[in-house]
Each structure stands twice: as C-alpha cells, then as structure tokens.
C-alpha cells in the first residue's frame, strides 16, 4: 500500500507539474494575477507529493521489499542499514527521483520566498521550473520507474555495487544534485526574465542567493566526489579528467562565471545579455552532465546506467530546454537595454576578463569531454582524451586567472587604478616569491610544484590583502578600536570573496604538494619493510576479515617515522560475494596536511600482498580548499544586504567601500 501510494503520488506530481507549467504562464501572458497566484501553492503541493513518493521508495528499500525491480536490482537483505538508505540514490532510478525531489525542493523554496519578487517573475520562474519538473517526471515514469513491480518477488536482491557501498556515497550525489539542480533555478530565473522582459539589478539581486546556493553545493559535491574516488578506487588519484568529473566541472566553471557577472549586473546594470546567456549555459551544462552520466554514452566508474531509450529521452529534454531557452534568448535579447559602459581597468573590466577566461576554460573541458564521444558516434573511432590534453589547455588558462584574481579584488568599480592595486599586492607577491626561493633552496624541484606553491601563497595572501588594507588603513589615521569597527563594518560578502579566493589558493597548494610525494608499488610478505618518503612501512601480518556482506583480506601495517611507530593501518581488499566483485579499502593516516595512503590487492603467491604505498604531502588541502571556498560562499550568502555600487569620479588610492565577489 505504501509503495503504491508513492507511485500514485509521483503520477499526481506529474499532473500538478503540467498544471503549473501552463496556468501561471497563461497568467503572465494575460496579466491575470489570480492565475499567477496558483504557482506557489501548486509548487508546494508538488513538492509534498514528491516527498511522499521518495519516502515510499526509501521505505521499500529499508524493508527489502523485493516486489520492486529497483530494490531487487540494487539491494540485498544483508546490506547494512546505512547502505540500504544511501542505495536509494545510488542507482539510476533512485538518483533520478532524487533529482526531481531536489528540483521540487528548490521550487518550494522559491514558492515561499516570493514576497520580495515581482509577481510575474515569481509565477514565471515557478512555471519554467515546472516544465523542467514535468519533463523529468515523465522521464522517470516512462523509462526509469523506481516503482516497477514484480509479480513473484525473489527472496533476495542482487546487492549494490561495492564501489558505492561507502559513506561518501551517502552525501556525494545529493550534494552534486543540489548543485546541478540549483542551477535550474537560475535557468528558470533567466527564462522568466526573458518572458517577462525584466532584466535589471532587481533581477540580479533576486537570483544571487540561488546562484550562491547552487555554487556552494556544486563545489562541495565535486570535492566530495574527488575524495570519494581518491579513497575508494585505491590508487590515490583524486582527479582523472574522467568525462563524469568533467560533467560536474563544466557547470561549476559556468556557475562561477555567472556568480561574478551577476555582481556586475547588480551593481552596474551591465553585462545583462551575457549574464542571462550564462545562466542558460550553466544549466544546459548540468543537463549535458546528466545526459553524459545517465544515458550510458560512456562506461566509466560512475556511469552505472545503461539503456539507449533513456539516452534518447534525456537528449530530447536537453534539446527542448536548451533550444527553447536559446530561442527565447534570440527573440528577446535585442530588446534588452544595454547597461552602463566601463573602462577596461576597473572591477567590472576584471570581472569581464574573469568571465572570458572561465568560459574559455569551460569550452576546453567541453571539447575535451565531448569530442571523443562525437568522434565515436560519427566514425566509430575510439580515442581517449586524458590529462595531457587538459594539462596543455585548461591549466595554462586557469593559472594566470589565479594571478589576476587578487588584482581584480583590489581594483575599484568603474575606474580602477592598476598601479595602486599592484602596490597593495606587493606584500603578497613578495611572500609568494620568497616561498618559491625558499623551496628552490630546500627542495630544488620539481619546478611545477614550486611555481604552484608560490602562486598559491600569493593567491591566499592576495585574497586577504584587500580586506587588510581596508581594515587597517583607517585605523592608522584613527584610534585602535577603529580596527574592530572597520572589520565589523565590512560587508560579509567581502569576507566571502576573500575566503573563496583563499580556498582556491589552498587547493593550489595541495596540488603543488603532489610533486613532493613518494610512492612505492611492490609485493610484500609479513615482515617486509618499505621506505616511502620519510616513513617506514612494515607489513606485520595478513589476515582475513568478515563484514556483514563481504569477506576481506586485510594487511596489518605499522607506519614508523624516525624509529617511532606513529600509526597502525589495515588496508584491505574486500570481496562482495553477492556481486562477485572486489574492492580495495585503502587505509589512510593524516599527518599534518599530508596523508599516508596504503592500498593492497591480493598477491600472486599465497601469503603476499601487492601493496601500493603513497606519501602525499599537503594532499588534504585540495579538498580543504574546496571547503573553504564553500564557506566563503556561505559567508556571502549570509549577507542579506544590498550591494551598492559606487562610481568613483576622482582618481584616488582610497579603496572602494565595498567589494563584490
């Protein structure tokens, strides 16, 4: 009964999505407030129905109801409770339902926050959101129904892919989806702006928190996914330029660009057309990401769905929404009033440069990801575009961007003073250079790591140098307590900017650490000792382990540093009989910001293991940086104040009163 109620609620949610896709739009077109008023209430009801549906699916998984195909294919009665729950979104059907759940959650959030919005924008946003919801609900019900039943249920299921039986999976997909789907709101805002013909600072102010929310979750989701790959695949890699990873990176780049361009729009009423275009682009890229992952066009660790029918359906959704939005854009863009003009050397100018570079980065990732797929589709030739391509294209674009980032932060709006900005950054620049010289003296190489480390230090210090000048400059003129007043008086969004940019610096520092790591891949038997970087690793014993749904061979290893034992680690290789799959379970010890990473697989001779031992200095900073970026976003999100763009008329060294991020 619960299962069928969930199924019915899903169908009903589709009906409501259709209603909400049409009635409010009719209201917008005919300027009928009553019809527009329907949108929020229906969005809330739709959300409620999808929640019922999702709860029913979770219930079915929890109770191992094997009359559902979805449960049979992805669950097993012996699976631990946590994975019975996370398994709901670990498979194709459940993850698509999560997609729709988050979509309707955002719809509901927009519905209740409508007071500050013009009524027509509010109704149109919700209507566009309902179009997306209807398309995906139809997709779920017709091609990937999680509530499909079996008349004669088997007594047990096929279990979940062991790679996905991991706490990381509990949060990675929801985070990523919150990001992907969050961009649907900005898309809906863009489409609504085009429909209603309102594209102005008010619009930019309204859409800002939604971009920030999506961006925060996308950042965390990507970082989480990277960390998950790092410790479950057992090879210590954290970014593979895998198409699925790229699929999440592209919307992130577009969302980052969008975040910056809306600031210009809010403050200066400029870059309107471009901002709308970016909003459409960002969501289009997340739809493309969904298509890549969900259609099964590629087979990689993430792509656990494979059904051409689904691929064609998603492609149709993709063409409909991207094509529809671009058509709307083409029809309306000419009627947009261009905003104010600005000098190239100004905050706006720097942000435009940022947008250009980020878009180009995005384009290179797009080409590197889709070119092999297109080539295979057209000629059947299989080529693989991997790290060499991205290292040669993406990296040379992105690194100079980091060099420009602190400069842009110190530039004033409208008319900037490049020389003054550079002067203010002298300290950060000197520190970066100093660190590089120090590293050359101490380590001697590799060059790329030293360069990255210097850049990272410069980026981190540069991110705060603008804040520092603004806090201390006045304090030098006034009394000491003014420092706190200044610090307090600065908008939180300024701190957000600094944090987010410093986060990038931290990640760069983590990447620099890769060059100083050490690794050993060897066959070991109990008693063997291996030296990895500054650590000595002793294999003490090899023994069996049993878990709820797996058996494992575990190696007991001691890590010694300078003769003293600092950790005992048990890397293992697990065997899951239900799926007949093995999975490495790496053991990790964090030392300062670095990690000792041990992985094993069964050795050829009995009583031995093939061990992969790594020392990865500073590696945690890669993800820590992402967390700091997200914190910056959160900080900026908490700033409910309006942004005041001040046009400077006189050339002075004084700082703009408020910065944007």
């Amino acid at each position: 009964m619960i299962v069928e109620t969930g199924h019915f609620a899903l169908v009903l949610a589709l009906a409501l999505a259709f209603v909400n896709a049409c009635v409010p739009l009719w209201g917008v077109v005919s300027r009928d407030d009553r019809l527009m008023q329907v949108a929020p209430s229906v969005a809330l009801a739709g959300f409620f129905l999808v929640v019922i549906s999702y709860a029913a699916l979770i219930y079915a998984h929890l109770t191992s109801d094997f009359s559902l195909v979805n449960v049979v294919e992805n669950s097993h009665s012996t699976k631990p409770l946590l994975y019975k729950i996370t398994g709901v979104w670990g498979d194709h059907e459940g993850s698509m339902l999560l997609w729709v759940l988050i979509l309707s959650l955002f719809g509901a959030a927009v519905a209740v926050s409508g007071r500050a919005m013009p009524r027509d924008i509010h109704a149109a946003v919700l209507a566009v959101q309902s179009w997306i919801g209807a398309a995906f609900l139809l997709f779920i019900l017709l091609t990937s129904n999680p509530f499909a039943r079996i008349a004669n249920p088997p007594m047990d299921g096929m279990g979940l892919n062991p790679l996905l039986q991991d706490p990381g999976l509990a949060i990675h997909p929801p985070l990523l989806y919150l990001g992907y789907v969050g961009l649907s709101i900005t898309f809906s805002f863009a489409a609504a702006a085009l429909i209603c013909g309102r594209i102005d600072a008010v619009w930019a102010r309204l859409v800002r928190p939604w971009i920030l929310i999506a961006w925060i979750f996308l950042t965390l989701g990507i970082a989480m996914g990277s960390y998950w790959a790092y410790y479950t695949l057992g090879w210590g890699g954290f970014w593979f330029w895998d198409p699925v990873e790229n699929a999440s990176l592209m919307p992130w780049l577009a969302a980052t660009a969008l975040l910056h361009s809306t600031t210009v729009m809010e403050k200066r009423e400029a870059l309107k057309v471009w901002t709308i275009f970016l909003a459409i682009l960002a969501f289009s890229l997340s739809l493309i990401g969904t298509f890549i992952v969900r259609s099964g066009v590629l087979t990689s660790v993430h792509a656990f769905a494979n059904d051409p029918r689904r691929g064609v359906f998603i492609l149709a959704i993709l063409v409909f929404f991207i094509g529809g939005a671009l058509l709307l854009f083409a029809l309306r863009a000419n009627s947009l009033k261009p905003g104010g003009f600005f000098a190239p050397i100004s905050r706006e100018g720097a942000l435009v440069l940022n947008n250009l570079v980020l878009s180009t980065c995005c384009a290179t990732v797009f080409i590197g990801t889709l070119y092999p797929l297109a080539l295979e589709a057209l000629t059947g030739a299989k080529i693989s575009v991997g790290p060499p391509f991205f290292n040669a294209t993406f990296v040379p674009l992105f690194l100079p961007l980091c060099l420009l980032m602190p400069i842009a932060q110190t530039l004033a709006w409208k008319r900037g003073d490049l020389l003054g900005s550079l002067q203010r950054l002298f300290f950060a620049f000197a520190c970066g250079l100093g660190v590089m010289l120090l590293l050359v003296a101490l380590r001697g190489g590799p060059a790329i790591s030293i360069l990255l480390a210097g850049l990272a230090i410069y980026t981190i210090l540069g991110a705060f140098s603008d804040l520092a000048t603004r806090i201390f400059r006045r304090a030098a003129l006034l009394k000491g307590s003014q420092v706190f007043a200044n610090a307090f008086g600065l908008p939180r969004s300024a701190y957000g900017t600094a944090l987010a940019h410093a986060g990038i610096g931290l990640t760069l520092l983590g990447l620099a650490g890769v060059g100083w790591g050490a690794q050993k891949i060897l066959t070991m038997k109990p008693g063997d000792v291996a030296q990895v970087g500054p650590y000595e690793i002793v294999l003490e014993s090899i023994g069996p382990q049993t878990g709820p749904d797996y058996t494992a061979t575990a190696a007991h290893m001691a890590v010694r540093s300078g003769g003293a034992e600092i950790a005992e680690l048990d890397p293992a290789v697990r065997y899951y009989p239900v799926r007949q799959m093995s999975r490495a379970e790496a053991a990790i010890k964090t030392v300062d910001f670095g990690q000792i990473y041990l992985g094993i697989s069964k050795g050829e001779a009995a009583g031995t293991v093939d061990a992969r031992l790594y020392w990865k200095p500073l590696v945690t900073l890669i993800w820590f940086g992402a967390i700091v970026m997200a914190l910056g976003g959160l900080c900026s999100l908490s700033d409910r104040r309006l942004r005041i763009g001040v046009a400077r008329r006189v050339r002075r060294i004084a700082v703009a009163p408020q910065a944007a991020e």
Binding site: M1, V3, E4, T5, H7, F8, A9, V11, L12, L14, A15, L16, F18, V19, W26, S30, R31, D32, D33, R34, L35, Q37, V38, P40, S41, A45, F48, L49, I52, T63, S64, D65, S67, S77, A116, M117, P118, F147, R149, A151, P153, P154, M155, D156, A201, V202, R205, E269, G489, L490, R641, L642, I644, G645, V646, A647, R648, R649, V650, P657
Partner: protein, 363 residues
C-alpha cells in the same frame, strides 16, 4: 483504504489549484521600487556608520535615485489596471478538476498495480508456515542463521531443503556447518557424507567415504554401512560391498524398510559374481575346485531366491545355471517356482516362458 488515500491525495492536488484561484488577491507590492528604496536606506545607514565616505554616499544615492525613478515609471506602466476576466480562473479551475484526476488515474492505471500489497521481506519471512513456499522458508532460516550463526540446527534443517531445490553446494556447506556447530556424531557424519554423495551425482567419493568410516568407528550407523557398501561396489570391490551389506542386513531388524532394497542389491552383486570378474576368478581355480565354486555359487543364489523370490533376473539366471550344470530336474523345479511367483506379472512370465522354450525345458 488505498483508494481512500488516492482520493485524498487527488483532492489535495486539486485543492492546491483551486484555493489560490478562489482566495482574495494578495496586495500588489512593487518590488522594484522597494529594492531601490532599500538601497537608498542602506546608503544612508552606511554613511551614518562612516563605512562609506560622504562623497561616495552622495554618488551612490544619485545613481540609486535615478534608478528608483526609472523603476517607478516602469512600474506604473506595468500595473496599469486591467479588468480581471472572471472566466479565466473558472476555466483554469475546470481544467484542473478534469485534468488532474484524469492524468493521475489514467497514467497510474497504466503503470501501477493497486491490488499488489507491499511485500516487506520480514513479513514474508514471518508468514504462517502453511502459506510459505520453500524458497521463503529457506530464506527465513537463512535470515535466522545470519543473526545466530551458532545455531547449528538451522543448518541441519536447511540440508534437505537445499537438496530438494538442487542447490547441492549450499546443501554440502550447510551439512558441514551443522557438523561443526552441533558436534560430531555418527548420524551427522553420515548425513554430511550422504550430502556429499548427492552433490557428486550419487558417486561416493573419498571425502564422503571418510565420513562414513568415521561414523561406523564411532557407533552403529546402518546408513554408513550402506554407503560404504555402495562405495565398494562403485569401485568394483564386490567382496567388500557384499561384506558391508551383509553386515548391515544382519544388524537390521526383520521389518526394516530398507531390507528388500538391500537384498535386491546383494542379489545384483551375486548375479554379477557369475559374470566377468568373479567368473575370471573361478576360471583361475583348479578344475575340481572350479566345479565346487560354481555349485556353491548356484546354491547361494537358490538359497537367496528361496528367501525372496521377487527377483526375476535371479530366477532366470538360476534356471540357466541348472541347465548348464545339466541338472534338468532342478531347472524344471526352479522354472515352476518362478512361474508361480510371477503369476501376476505377465512381462516376467513371458520372459520365463521364452527362456523355457530356448532351453527346451517345456516339453
């Protein structure tokens, strides 16, 4: 109950559309104007806190005020009073009333299974035994064992069920676990050995034989004797087979159900004794002893048939043997007894008649 919930949900969905159509309009605010007003307030506040210099504040104020004017102008144009058309909400309401239930029930009708109950695993496992099919029963015991792996009786119960389903390897594992968990007894050793035999297509392999040998070493275990005999006969060691089976026969109570089967097997052994292997052994004997051995063999067969006459092959063999030994009277007598014993069996009778004709004993 299910339909009541469906009706409730459908009602809620329709209500979500009808209610906003019916409720009075919320007062129209003009967020654009409000936005620039808020901006002006903000500038004033910043200026007061000295977070912004007076010149900057002035510049910002001018710009915001300019935008406020533009917004107010646009606002007035946009909110030009339009006469609400009373028919639009009515059409929308009607469409919602028809469309939502139609799509909801229509699509659900095509996809859903309203009559199928939930099937949570636990409830299926706890269903009354009568309504339980063997798979569910097995799963129930398996689930119990996952919780209480020390309960050997569970494994013991599973063995025949697995065998029934042809899950031979599972059966072997269960029998082995039962032996481990419950302790070694002749019965369990035999049961494990027997499962091994079943899993091995009825052949008694070395592992199985070890179990049976251990079993009889620990105490009287008729089944183990039987399988040891079977093992010997499969290996062609008829003498050992006979030894085991005769020992078993001697131990068995007169009404033991396996008696007749066992006797049958012994008879087969005896018959085979006449042919190849034992025949070879007899041929190796000196002539006088040969004759004696053959006589002894035939006498044994006769004695067995006197005890249990339901062995048509035995009778045929006996008749043929008497004829070969030129004891025509005995052959005739055996023929008569056989005819009497198999009076009710036309097929057997036909074979007896055919043999009689062949050997010329009828006339």
């Amino acid at each position: 109950m299910l339909w009541a919930i469906f009706a409730l949900l459908t009602g809620l969905a329709i209500f979500a559309v009808l209610w906003p159509l019916a409720k009075p309009l919320a007062k129209e605010t003009s967020p654009d104007v409000a936005f620039y007003r808020a901006k002006l307030d903000e500038i004033a506040r910043d200026a007061e806190l000295a977070a912004i210099s007076p010149q900057d504040a002035e510049a910002a104020k001018t710009e915001a005020a300019r935008q406020l004017l533009a917004a107010a102008e646009k606002d007035q144009a946009a909110t030009k009073p339009t006469r609400p058309n009373p028919w639009r909400p009515r059409i929308a309401a009607l469409l919602a009333l028809v469309f939502i239930p139609a799509l909801g029930l229509g699509l659900y009708g095509a996809l859903g299974h309203p009559n199928w109950p939930d099937e949570p695993l636990e409830a299926r496992l706890n269903a009354p035994a009568a309504s339980l099919d063997i798979n569910a029963a097995i799963a129930r015991v398996e689930a119990h064992l996952a919780q209480h792996p020390e309960d050997g009786r569970g494994y013991e119960v599973l063995v025949p069920a697995y065998l029934h389903l042809g899950r031979m390897q599972d059966a072997v594992h269960a029998a082995q676990m039962a032996l481990q968990k419950l302790g070694v007894t002749p019965e369990r050793l035999t049961a494990y050995g027997e499962t091994l035999v079943f899993a091995n297509n009825g052949m008694v392999n070395e592992a199985a034989r070890k179990q049976f040998e251990q079993a009889i070493a620990k105490g009287p275990e008729p089944k183990a004797l039987f399988y040891l005999g079977l093992a010997a006969s499969q290996e062609g060691d008829k003498a050992s087979a006979r030894q085991y089976w005769e020992k078993l026969l001697a131990q068995s109570p007169p009404n033991a159900p396996w008696r007749s089967d066992l006797e049958g097997r012994l008879a087969v052994l005896s018959n085979q004794n006449a042919s190849p292997d034992q025949a070879g052994a007899i041929a190796a004997l000196p002539p006088a002893e040969q004759q004696a051995a053959i006589h002894a063999m035939v006498d044994r067969l006769a004695a067995r048939l006197a005890e249990n006459g339901q062995d048509i092959e035995g009778w045929l063999k006996l008749v043929r043997a008497y004829k070969v030994m030129n004891e025509i009277d005995k052959a005739r007598a055996a023929l008569a007894t056989a005819r009497h014993d198999f009076n009710a069996d036309p097929a057997a009778k036909a074979r007896i008649d055919a043999l009689a004709r062949e050997l010329g004993l009828d006339s």
